[in-house]
Symmetry: C2
């Protein structure tokens, strides 16, 4: 970085991006190879294998899209949805709403299943929607809702969706690497994520996976995919054995993703998930001990993202500002319905360590005690 | 990078990515800030100002899209084109064809103006198309056609397009930073580029700019932009004063873009363009001295990308393979009509230096002499 400005040293404990490990930052700084270089093609294969591991899938079509998490969401929608299709979208936060928006932009008739912000979607709701709309092509749901901190159980819903002959689409942006996604075991037909949450890679890639059922839907479309850039019917030929040039892959980002996934493999996915669970519980207990109220019921809390109600009379901007300016800690504010009402504290990937839990609890206590 | 594999040291002289300067690689490795951090918002403003400089524009709507160059192309098409619109696309190579594809996916009626691969589009051709289709909403053309090495003059065509009341859309992926794009002076209404060519930033961002005429078309659309991810009517509120969260910006890539643009400002845009012109001429003279035939007529040659006909009886794969494996030099092969028939030698951004010209000429001579 030029001398013009010294960047402040941040501890990233918001809803993403999370902190990036020095090994991954070093991978970002590796001199480039070309995107068709034989060595780069080998790295692509390694990334694919490692993504299959973390997704818990054997899906052949598993690759990082060249955009951020929202590009992953858009990838799944533009590839699976055609104008006139009926899709059921479960909405219990901002990212569910975003899927409604994307579905409509694909020309779909969107049936919305609404849950309260801070709660899960219940299987009976999905069952009722499927009974009323037996022609629905897919049901989409967010596993880890970044706007509310809710962990959505998938097992029962997956069975209902498949009994109805529909595809199950899951948003795993905030869950991947910190929670079991288990694509194959959970019967998820299409799944997308982002790199800047529990994978602790800078934002810029969106891992996506689709099983053969979803791929068949893609390959039997009547109309072309409305996005050229995200058209998996072409991208699969670059990530597959054909290596057919589509667009120039974000090479450095892929170096970084490989490094982070290798670190995850070294730690072991199970150990990483356990680390998130344990430290998330420590943070949540500490916050409640301070008398703060958590928005989500204990059984539905995400370990990697905790949503705290801002105490009455306390200024959102003041507290977050002091955390940032005095302690160098970033936590997130609320979005949508929760704007100004909650804080979102992330413990994702590299940021998920005991000293960060201790620090954020102590810093928050000091600030709250002083006002 | 982990010890698992040592990456080979490449000299990137293909059609992009180009070599990335160590200062820019270091910027990629800077620890992250959040995407809404006040410091990051200042960096966004700096990037915007520097992009305005290199585009030669005062357009308020100037920002890097979170994808590679093709995402920039798609951004312009999805934002300006609505179903049923008529658009004129000039095609004289692969990237013109790609715009036809994107226009159709937006539901446009695409009128194609065809030129020979290796030649420019002539103003008379555009004039005739506009006369036949006075209701065309826009005319799009590639300034630096990466598949053929042709530099397209824009001045006369720009006048014709505006006389007809249409918008001029220009692909500046390979030109920006190496050739005068001069958005305002050339009357370009919407322009897109990529970072991995003459800006010498890793692939992953697509600078885009639109003037107020184009912005008005965007804001008066009848239908929503079909892409949520690339919807400029929302993204302008994140890059504008509102700072409204849209998606998580690729933070490290933006650090790198800022660093590369600062280096360009230090050198001076005029000096950088002159460097490309002078060294491109040295390379082209050297290739012709070796008896190799250049595809493009002298007056239409791009300095930053030279397209050479492969001599009869010489194996494309063998020569490129030896350059890569014995000398560590990457040059590009042909695409589309030119597949197997040409080599594409890039001198872009950081890769554009005298020692690379000397090296690639000598290496190519040694290989050709030995077969």
């Amino acid at each position: 970085m030029s001398s013009k400005r010294k960047l402040p040293e941040r501890i990233l404990m918001g809803p993403g991006p999370s902190g990036v490990h020095p090994r991954v930052l070093q991978a970002m700084a590796m001199p480039l190879t070309g995107h068709l270089d034989p060595v780069f093609l080998e790295i692509m294969d390694e990334v694919k294998g490692l993504l299959q591991m973390v997704f818990g899938t054997e899906n052949e079509l598993t690759a990082p899209m060249s955009g951020t998490g929202s590009a992953g969401m858009e990838t799944v929608f533009v590839n699976l949805v055609e104008p006139g299709d009926k899709v059921i979208v479960c909405v219990k936060g901002l990212f569910g709403q975003r899927m409604v928006d994307m579905g409509r932009r694909c020309g779909a008739e969107v049936v919305q299943v609404d849950g309260a912000w801070g709660d899960v979607i219940y299987p009976e709701q999905v069952e009722a929607a499927l009974r009323q709309h037996p022609d629905a092509k897919l049901v989409s749901i967010v596993q880890a809702e970044t706007s509310t901190g809710v962990l959505q159980p998938l097992g029962e819903i997956s069975g209902l969706v498949h009994d109805a002959g529909a595809l199950l689409v899951v948003d795993a942006v905030t869950s991947l690497g910190g929670t079991h996604v288990d694509v194959d075991k959970n019967g998820i037909d299409a799944c997308f994520s982002g790199t800047q949450k529990c994978l602790s890679v800078p934002p810029g890639l969106a891992p996506v996976t689709m099983n053969s059922r979803a791929e068949e839907v893609l390959l039997n479309r009547k109309s072309p995919v409305q996005s050229w850039y995200l058209d998996l019917s072409m991208i699969r030929n670059y990530w597959g054995q054909e290596r057919f040039y589509h667009h120039t892959a974000p090479i450095s980002m892929i170096f970084a993703l490989r490094e982070a996934l290798e670190m995850l493999a070294e730690e072991g996915l199970e150990n990483a998930i356990k680390r998130h669970q344990e430290l998330g519980a420590v943070l949540q207990a500490g916050l409640e001990e301070m008398g703060l109220e958590l928005v989500v019921a204990p059984q539905h809390r995400l370990p990697q993202l905790t949503v705290v109600r801002i105490p009455e009379g306390v200024s959102d901007a003041q507290v977050r500002g002091r955390l940032l300016n005095e302690y160098g800690i970033e936590i997130g504010g609320g979005l949508g319905e929760f704007k100004g009402k909650v804080w979102r504290i992330g413990l994702m990937g590299s940021s998920c360590k005991l000293r960060n839990v201790t620090l954020v609890l102590s810093a928050l206590r000091e600030i709250l005690d002083s006002i």
